[in-house]
C-alpha cells in the first residue's frame, strides 16, 4: 500500500492515485521504436497503447485540451472540433515533413499551438511555448476559424466577432472560473490553460482590451479566476494514522495550500487566484444567487429542517452548524456508508460555492479539472448512488441559469460547466507533468503508487478504511481494468456522456436553444440536478419494511397533496408542515442527508443508531443550507400557486404509483400467512 493510500484521504475527488514513474516508459510495446505520429523520433511515452515521442505527446494533449475548451465555449461544434483536430494533425505532419526536408516551417497551428516548435529542435522535455495566436485565428487560409457569435446563447457575454470595427457595440468578454484542487491534475490543468490561452486573457487590472487591440491581438477572454474551495476533506486526511512526509500530496495540505496558491499566482500572473470554503455554500448570502426574491417571494424567515427518520419540515430558526461540523470535522471513526455520503454532500456544496463565485465574478464558464479517469470513476460512483438522472450534471457540461445574474443585468445569465480534460486520462496527465517538469512545491521524488490490486477488497489487510468509499472503489476498478483494457476510462466517460442527457436538454434543443440551459431551481433542492420525483413510491414497492398487522388498521395512504405539502400533517412542536421529500430532493441527496443525520447524532452523542437501520433513537436534526431551504420553499410555493391558478393538479402520483402504494403493502394477515407457511417454519417460535 502506498503512502498516499495509507494517508487515508477520502476526498472523492482525490486523484492522487496516479500511475507511478515506471509507467511513463514501461508500457512501450516490444518492437515499437518510433513515434506513432511523426514516425521520426523514438517513442518514449505510451498513452492508451499509442506510443509517442515527447513532443508529439505534448502536442496531442494540448490540442485535445484546447479543442474541448473551445468547443465548450461555443467556438465551434463537436463535429467541427473533430475536423479541426484532424486538420491540425495533418498540417503538423506536413510541417514536420517540411522541416525534415529543410523547408521553412510555418508558424502556428490551427489549434493555437505553435506547431513548428513541436519538432523545431526544442529539447525533449522542454516546455513548449505557444505562439502568439489568438483563441481562434482569423488569419487561417480557409477562414473557418472565424470566430462567430458565441453559441452560448443564454449568456449576455457574447464574444466580439473577430476583426470587429470600433463602430460595433462592444460586448463584455466572458469571464472564466477555473476550479482547482491541491492535486497534480490541477497543476497540469493550469499549465495547459495558460499554455493555450495566455495571449487572449485580459489580465487583472486591464478593464478593457484596448491595449491588446492596438497591438493587433484582441483579447477573447475576460478575466480568469482560479478558485480553490476548501471542502473539508483535509480533515479526514489528517485523521489518518499513517501519514508519510514523502507523500506527494503532503505539500498541499493545510496551510501549505496558501503557499501553493502563492506560487501558482506568481507563475501565472494573468490569473486571479481566489480561495473559498464550504462556509460560503452554507452562508445565507448565497441563497439569492439561486433563488431570486423578485421572481416569487417566499418567507425568508422560514427554513427547512431535516428531522429524525428523514422528515422534512418547516422551521423558523436556522441551525446549519451540526451539518457544518460533520463536514469539516467528522468523527474519527465512521462507517464507509457515512463517509461516502459526507463526501457526496461536500461535492454538492463545493459546486454551490463555485457557482456563487461565478455569479459574483460574472463568470460565464466554470471550468473543472476532470480527467477521463475521474469522470469514469465518478460515473460508476454516481450509478451506485442512484444518480443516473443527474449524470448530466455530475459528469457532463450543463448550463445553469443563476437568478442573481438575471436580477443584476436584467438578462438571463447562466454558467456553463466545462471539462476540457475529459478525453485525457490520469496517466497522460502524469506523463505531461513529468515532461513539463512540473512537480509538487517541495517534492522532488515521484509519488509512490502501487498498481491497484483487484484482489484487494475492502476487507483485505492492505486496504485502509478510507479506501473503501464508493468513489475510492470506483477509482480502483478503473485503474485495475485500465491495466488490461487501456481505453476503459475513455470508454466509460464517453458512454456516460451519451446517456447523460436529460429530457430538459432535449426539450430546450427542440426549442432551438443550442445548449439548453435550465434554472437552478428546476432540480433537486440540494444538488440542483434534475431528478425523477416520486422515488419514494419506487422505494416503497421494492423494499417493503412493514406488514399490515390487522385488517382494520389497514388504511390506504392518502395521496400527497399537490406541491408535496400535506396540510393536515402537523409533526413538531413548531406546528410546521411536513414536506414530501421526493418532490423537492433527489433520491441520492435524501439518502446522503439521512446518513448525515445519523452522523450528527453520533457526533452529538445524543443517541445511538440501531443496527436495524430503520429506526433511530437520536434526536439529531439540522436545517438545510439556506440556499436549499429557499429553493425548496419557493418550489412549494410555486407548485401550490400553479395548482390554484391553472386548475391543473401537479405532482400527484400516477395511477400506477397509487396502486403500488395501496397494493404493494397488502399481504395476507399474520394468522392466514402462518397457516399457509406453517409447513415451512423452521423450529418453534
Amino acid at each position: 500500500m502506498s503512502a498516499r493510500q495509507a494517508a487515508g484521504c477520502s476526498n472523492e475527488d482525490d486523484d492522487s492515485d496516479l500511475p507511478g514513474k515506471e509507467s511513463l516508459e514501461g508500457r512501450i510495446a516490444p518492437g515499437v521504436t518510433t513515434c506513432f505520429r511523426c514516425k521520426k523520433f523514438p517513442a518514449t511515452v505510451s498513452a492508451r497503447s499509442v506510443h509517442f515521442c515527447n513532443e508529439c505527446f505534448l502536442f496531442s494533449v494540448r490540442v485535445r485540451f484546447k479543442t474541448n475548451l473551445n468547443t465548450g465555449m461555443g467556438q465551434y461544434s463537436a463535429g467541427e472540433a473533430k475536423e479541426k483536430r484532424i486538420r491540425a494533425d495533418r498540417k503538423q505532419t506536413l510541417r514536420d515533413k517540411t522541416a525534415r526536408q529543410g523547408g521553412k516551417a510555418d508558424a502556428g497551428g490551427e489549434a493555437g499551438i505553435t506547431g513548428s516548435d513541436v519538432h523545431n529542435g526544442a529539447p525533449a522535455g522542454s516546455t513548449v511555448q505557444t505562439g502568439e495566436r489568438p483563441l481562434a485565428s482569423s488569419s487561417a487560409p480557409n477562414g473557418n476559424e472565424q470566430m462567430g457569435t458565441n453559441a452560448h446563447a443564454s449568456s449576455s457575454n457574447d464574444h466580439s466577432p473577430e476583426g470587429s470595427t470600433s463602430s460595433q457595440p462592444r460586448v463584455p468578454l466572458p469571464n472564466i472560473l477555473l476550479a482547482i484542487e491541491p492535486s497534480p491534475v490541477s497543476l497540469a490543468f493550469l499549465d495547459l490553460f495558460n499554455d493555450s490561452f495566455a495571449d487572449v486573457i485580459t489580465p487583472p487590472g486591464d478593464a478593457t482590451d484596448e491595449t491588446a487591440r492596438r497591438r493587433g491581438r484582441p483579447k477573447k477572454i475576460g478575466r480568469v479566476f482560479v478558485v480553490y474551495v476548501d471542502d473539508g476533506s483535509d480533515a479526514e486526511r489528517d485523521n489518518a494514522n499513517e501519514y508519510s512526509l514523502e507523500d506527494w500530496r503532503r505539500s498541499f495540505v493545510g496551510d501549505e495550500v496558501n503557499s501553493l496558491l502563492e506560487q501558482l499566482s506568481s507563475r501565472y500572473p494573468q490569473l486571479t487566484f481566489l480561495r473559498s470554503s464550504l462556509d460560503d455554500a452554507l452562508s445565507p448570502s448565497v441563497a439569492p444567487t439561486f433563488c431570486s426574491q423578485t421572481k416569487a417571494p417566499w418567507d425568508t424567515s422560514s427554513h427547512v429542517k431535516f428531522e429524525k427518520l428523514g422528515h422534512l419540515t418547516r422551521a423558523t430558526t436556522s441551525n446549519t452548524e451540526p451539518l457544518h461540523q460533520i463536514l469539516t470535522s467528522p468523527p474519527p471513526s465512521l462507517s464507509r456508508t457515512h463517509r461516502t455520503s459526507l463526501a457526496l454532500l461536500r461535492r454538492h456544496l463545493r459546486r454551490i460555492a463555485l457557482l456563487s463565485l461565478c455569479a459574483h465574478n460574472s463568470a460565464s464558464y466554470l471550468v473543472l479539472a476532470c480527467t477521463a479517469s475521474r469522470i469514469s470513476a465518478r460515473t460508476l460512483a454516481c450509478l451506485a448512488q442512484g444518480r443516473g438522472w443527474s449524470l448530466a450534471d455530475d459528469i457532463g457540461e450543463p448550463e445553469i441559469r443563476l437568478e442573481a445574474w438575471c436580477d443584476r443585468s436584467g438578462e438571463a445569465g447562466s454558467v456553463r460547466m466545462l471539462r476540457p480534460l475529459k478525453e485525457i486520462t490520469d496517466h497522460e496527465i502524469w506523463s505531461y507533468l513529468k515532461l513539463q517538469g512540473l512537480t509538487a512545491a517541495d517534492s522532488t521524488t515521484a509519488p509512490e503508487s502501487s498498481p491497484p490490486s483487484s484482489e484487494a477488497g475492502p476487507f483485505s489487510s492492505g486496504a485502509s478504511l478510507a479506501h473503501s468509499t464508493l468513489p475510492a472503489l470506483s477509482r480502483r476498478l478503473i485503474g485495475t481494468l485500465t491495466a488490461g483494457f487501456p481505453s476503459t476510462a475513455t470508454t466509460v466517460s464517453k458512454t456516460a456522456e451519451r446517456v447523460a442527457v436529460s429530457e430538459w436538454w432535449l426539450e430546450e434543443k427542440e426549442k432551438g436553444t443550442p445548449h439548453g440551459s435550465r434554472a437552478a431551481g428546476d432540480g433537486c433542492g440540494l444538488c440542483l440536478s434534475p431528478f425523477r420525483s416520486r422515488w419514494l413510491a419506487w422505494n416503497a414497492a421494492h423494499t417493503v419494511d412493514s406488514l399490515p398487522s390487522a385488517p382494520s388498521s389497514d388504511q390506504p395512504l392518502p395521496p400527497p397533496a399537490p406541491g408535496g405539502v400535506q396540510p393536515n400533517m402537523v409533526s413538531s412542536v413548531e406546528q410546521s408542515l411536513e414536506i414530501e421529500p421526493d418532490n423537492v430532493l433527489c433520491h441520492s441527496c435524501y439518502s446522503a442527508l439521512l446518513d448525515a443525520a445519523k452522523v450528527v447524532s453520533i457526533q452529538a452523542g445524543t443517541g445511538t443508531v440501531s443496527s436495524g437501520g430503520s429506526s433511530s433513537k437520536t434526536d439529531a436534526s439540522f436545517t438545510l443550507p439556506p440556499y436549499s431551504s429557499a429553493l425548496i420553499l419557493r418550489r412549494l410555493l410555486l407548485d401550490s400557486t400553479k395548482e390554484c391558478t391553472d386548475g391543473v393538479v401537479v405532482n400527484t402520483p400516477s395511477e400506477e404509483d397509487e396502486r403500488m402504494l395501496r397494493e404493494g403493502g397488502t399481504v395476507m394477515s399474520r394468522d392466514a400467512l402462518r397457516g399457509e407457511v406453517a409447513e415451512w417454519l423452521i423450529g418453534a417460535d
Binding site: G388, G457, S474, T480, A496, W538, G612, V677, W680, I682
Partner: protein, 322 residues
C-alpha cells in the same frame, strides 16, 4: 448496576426474536416476516410491471440453480395466493457442460416432482449438434460465453414454442441486472444500456416476451430464502465462467454492496432513469426475416446462432474471434 438491555425483536412484527439481517437494508427480522416481505416484493414487481394476464401460459427458465428454483417456488406460491390464473411450466436447457449442467439437470427433475410442474428439457446437442464442451474445445475460454448466450437464447425460444407458452420468466436477480448495467458501461455497449434494466424484453428474433420477476430481489436474499425454505437447488458456478469479463463487474458490485447495500438497487434505479440521446433516426428498424439455414426468426439472412455455428463448422471461429 446497569439496566438490562432490551430484547431485540423483529423490526416488522415486533414480537419474535429476529433470526436474520436483511442484506437489502439491514433490518433484523424473523424468518416468517422475511418470507412474507420477500414474497410481497416479488408480488409488487409483478403487479407494478403488469407482467402477466389471466390465463397466460408461463415457462420458468429453470437451470436448477438457486434463482430459478426460488422463482419457480415463489411464482407457484403467488399464483395460488393471489390467483394470478397462470399455467406454469418448467423449461430447462442442457448446454452440455460436463460436471455442471448434468448435475443441475437432476435438480430440475426433482423440482418437477416437488412443484408438480411439467418439465421440458432442450439440449444444444439436439438443436445445434454442438455441446458447450465441444465449443470451448474449439474456441477456447475467451469468448465461450458469447456462444453460450446466443445459443441459449434461441434454445429457450424454441423450447417455449414447443410448449406453446405466452411468456418466459427467468431468474435474473437484482445483482445480475446491476452487473449488466456496470458491464455495459465498462464496455461502452450503448445499445444494450438502453434495454438492460427493462423488466420485459422481446425482439424480432425473440418474439416470446421474457420477464424478470426477481429483478429487485437481492442474490443474498434469494440464497437466504432458498436456505431457510430448504429448497432443493444446485449451487455451483459454471465451469467456464471465471474468465468472463462480467467477473470484474461482479467483484466490483460485491465491494459496493459491502460498503453500501443500497447500491445494488440504486444502480438499477440509475439504469432505469437514463435518457438516451439517440434520435429516432438513429434507431435501426429491422424487418423480421427468417433464417435461411434453420428457419428461425432473424433480423438478417442468418440468425446469430447459425452465424456462430457456421464459424465453428468451418473452423474459422478461433481465427475470427481471437
Amino acid at each position: 448496576m446497569s439496566a438490562p438491555k432490551p430484547k431485540r425483536t423483529c423490526a416488522v412484527c415486533g414480537v419474535k426474536k429476529p433470526s436474520l439481517k436483511r442484506p437489502k437494508n439491514g433490518t433484523m427480522v424473523c424468518a416468517e416476516c422475511f418470507f412474507a416481505i420477500f414474497e410481497t416484493e416479488i408480488h409488487n414487481t409483478i403487479i407494478a410491471a403488469k407482467l402477466f394476464k389471466r390465463g397466460d401460459k408461463v415457462a420458468v427458465a429453470a437451470s436448477g440453480g438457486k434463482d430459478s428454483t426460488v422463482l419457480a417456488h415463489v411464482l407457484k406460491l403467488l399464483n395460488a395466493r393471489h390467483d394470478y390464473g397462470l399455467d406454469l411450466y418448467l423449461l430447462s436447457i442442457d448446454e452440455g457442460i460436463t460436471g455442471y449442467r448434468d448435475d443441475s439437470l437432476e435438480t430440475v427433475k426433482r423440482n418437477e416432482k416437488q412443484y408438480e410442474l411439467p418439465l421440458l428439457i432442450v439440449s444444444y446437442e439436439e438443436l445445434y449438434g454442438w455441446s458447450m464442451d465441444a465449443i470451448v474445445a474449439e474456441v477456447g475460454l475467451k469468448n465461450n460465453c458469447t456462444y453460450c448466450g446466443v445459443l441459449r437464447r434461441q434454445a429457450l425460444d424454441r423450447g417455449a414454442t414447443r410448449l406453446k407458452v405466452d411468456h418466459i420468466v427467468t431468474g435474473h436477480n437484482a445483482d445480475d441486472i446491476a452487473e449488466t448495467v456496470l458491464m455495459n458501461f465498462l464496455r461502452g455497449d450503448f445499445a444494450r444500456l438502453q434495454r438492460c434494466t427493462q423488466i420485459t424484453t422481446s425482439s424480432s428474433s425473440s418474439p416470446i416476451p421474457r420477464s424478470k420477476p426477481l429483478k429487485f430481489a437481492y442474490e443474498k436474499e434469494i440464497v437466504m430464502y432458498a436456505y431457510l425454505k430448504k429448497l432443493d437447488y444446485f449451487s455451483t458456478e459454471c465451469s467456464y465462467s471465471p474468465n468472463a469479463y462480467r467477473g470484474n463487474a461482479r467483484t466490483f458490485l460485491k465491494e459496493l454492496e459491502a460498503v453500501r447495500p443500497q447500491a445494488i438497487l440504486d444502480i438499477i434505479y440509475s439504469g432505469e432513469t437514463f435518457d438516451i440521446t439517440s434520435s429516432k433516426s438513429d434507431v435501426e428498424t429491422t424487418v423480421p426475416q427468417t433464417c435461411t439455414r434453420c428457419g428461425y426468426m432473424s433480423s438478417g439472412a442468418l440468425c446469430k446462432a447459425c452465424l456462430l455455428l457456421e464459424g465453428l463448422e468451418q473452423g474459422t471461429a478461433r481465427i475470427k474471434l481471437s
